[in-house]
Symmetry: C2
Subunit: 165 residues, 2 copies
């Protein structure tokens, strides 16, 4: 033994990683924003994730699960799980696609639309307040940069060509 000293990482390196790691900064900001919106949306009975998911289902035609998972940049299995509580509450309906019986079509129910309509003004206020607190053009720039990062990671043309995961 006495080998454990040979793998010491200098404290300065730790500080460097802490300060520069984009992944860490993204996780922190995501957690902070999630709490901000979760708190604001709580009276409407929604979390930030549920709000985003339900909003993404508010379209003319019910989408299948795959594209929705892609849009939210989440694993397909995560989407399956996230739908469960929304189905239980009767806010989202998951039906078999008659054109392709492997697939599911996701739609908001009337009640789901009502809940979403309640949440919308809260989102507007919260987001406006957030924008205002950010320095001048930060908001648009940050949004743009985040989009770049999100889009970058699944563009690696893997051997067999599967993009997501």
């Amino acid at each position: 033994m006495a080998m454990s000293n040979s793998v010491e990482i200098p404290f300065s390196t730790t500080l460097l990683v802490r300060d520069t790691c984009l992944c860490l900064h993204a996780q922190r900001a995501a957690r902070a924003l999630a709490r901000l919106f979760d708190d604001a949306l709580r009276p409407a009975g929604l979390t930030n994730g549920q709000f985003s998911l339900m909003m993404s289902l508010n379209r003319p035609e019910p989408p299948p699960m795959g594209p929705v998972a892609s849009l939210l940049a989440m694993d397909q299995t995560t989407l399956t799980a996230a739908l469960k509580p929304l189905q239980r509450k009767g806010w989202v309906s998951v039906m078999e696609n008659p054109k392709d019986r492997r697939g599911r079509l996701l739609a908001l129910t009337g009640e789901g639309k009502a809940v979403l309509a309640t949440a919308l003004p809260i989102w507007k206020e919260t987001h406006a307040a957030l924008d205002q607190k950010l320095p001048d053009g930060s908001s648009a720039r940050l949004r743009q940069d985040l989009q770049t990062v999100s889009g970058m990671t699944d563009e690696t043309p893997k051997p067999a060509g599967r993009r997501l995961r």
Copy 2:
């Protein structure tokens, strides 16, 4: 009945929310980056979160839990949970603080330091590759903006003055 139409949210609104919501963009980017680093760090046996946590414990003096949770912008209860698997693996030690027996002091074990040392070059490569793929100054700017957002949300001097949650 027939009331469900009164709460329809226009599709254009949905598109607006999707495109502008900073929270959604942050969640997506966070998920994408998490996957990127999780994949890269897998050979070292760490997730991105475990890497960040363990790196934050690499200091001269073992810190208590509160400051570490703050640093990572995570709930204290999340930190308690996140420590469990690391303790089980023998990479992190959690000991009672003799100066304040409510508190715990967190430290990397020798084995933990070794694991972290294995992961460090992977982090370096992955982060360098990420930086390179981002347009010119995006990386630094994004980091700065994310930090602003993270710092903003817990600065609301609540009635009794409690900052975190």
